[in-house]
């Protein structure tokens, strides 16, 4: 399946791309466009104005995708809190790691092209997933 999002990938889009590839479509191909009108035919757009898989109400795009694809894994919803705060910083959740994620993603997007940012952030989100999974099982911060 082909997917499209806005160029200049930041935290929400990087997290969405990881989520899509890992939990929705392992063969996902991503296109990056500057304008919603440039979304190629036959692709599913996300985190772009006018797309179904975008910000809705208080939700960032990552949260919207979790809802639309009925992904109820609590670990993914914990990642969603960090992504939400890094993207929107509206203090809806207590996720102090968000500030660091935000800076790291901003920095990466300054020195690498979008495809490369996705390659680099994939393992980061894999790691976060494992970290939060263990934290939930243990009921405390994993060592």
């Amino acid at each position: 399946m082909r997917w499209a999002t806005r160029a200049g990938v930041h935290i929400d889009r990087a997290a969405c791309a990881w989520l899509i590839r890992r939990f929705i479509d392992s063969q996902a191909q991503f296109a990056f466009v500057a304008d919603p009108a440039e979304v190629p035919a036959g692709t599913t757009a996300f985190d772009i104005r006018g797309a179904e898989l975008s910000h809705h109400g208080a939700d960032c795009s990552f949260e919207t995708i979790l809802r639309r694809y009925e992904l109820t894994d609590p670990v993914l919803w914990r990642i969603a809190q960090a992504v939400h705060e890094a993207d929107l910083d509206d203090q809806r959740f207590d996720a102090p790691e968000a500030a660091g994620l935000d800076v790291a993603l901003r920095g990466l997007s300054m020195v690498f092209a979008d495809e490369r940012v996705l390659e680099l952030t994939g393992p980061l989100f894999d790691g976060l997933y494992e970290y939060y999974r263990r934290a939930m099982l243990l009921g405390r911060e994993p060592a």
């Binding site: 975008s54 809705h56 109400g57």
Partner: protein, 179 residues
């Protein structure tokens, strides 16, 4: 934080602004208030009834586009425009008003930091954490930094220096009142 290179100055024309033109139904009030809060958090210049603006860059443009989407979802209408003030004087006025709004926020933080100075260790640590977060959020919507920014930062960080010195941990360099 991105720097905006379009401050009106001698030899430079006014910079590019991103404007959100919006109308939200009066009822229900919840989405209308959520939208108002969001605009406030972004630090927009309220240019008129249903017209808000920010200095244009990729991030501010995206932020106003999201708010525009939310307005549409709430049953209202919204459009995002890129525009330049017709005169440098108009842009300066806008910038001054935005700087004054941020200045008041920084001063409130500095006052709270001053009030926390004589609190107990735990209360001071809590105030430090809270005020640092508050400063970070104000700075994010601060497009024309006023002098009050550095004063607020110094007042908040003084809480940290004080805490370290009092608890006998590594004192901040130059803050050797006790060692």
């Amino acid at each position: 934080m991105e720097q905006h290179s379009h401050r009106g100055g001698p030899g430079h024309g006014p910079g590019l602004w991103v404007l959100l033109c919006y109308r939200v139904p009066r009822e229900p009030s919840a989405p209308r208030i959520a939208i108002w809060r969001k605009l406030k958090r972004l630090g927009v210049a309220q240019l008129g009834d249903g017209l808000a603006g920010l200095p244009a860059d990729a991030r501010t443009r995206e932020q106003l586009e999201w708010v525009g989407e939310e307005v549409t979802e709430a049953g209202g209408s919204a459009g995002v425009w890129l525009a330049r003030p017709a005169t440098a004087a108009q842009e300066r006025e806008l910038a001054a008003a935005m700087a004054a709004a941020r200045s008041a926020e920084y001063e409130a933080v500095a006052d709270q930091a001053a009030a926390a100075r004589d609190a107990g260790e735990a209360a001071r640590a809590a105030a430090l954490r809270r005020l640092r977060g508050e400063l970070r959020r104000i700075t994010r919507r601060d497009y024309f930094p006023p002098a009050a920014r550095e004063q607020a930062r110094a007042a908040v960080e003084a809480l940290a220096g004080q805490r370290e010195t009092r608890s006998g941990e590594v004192p901040a360099a130059g803050a050797g009142e006790r060692s």
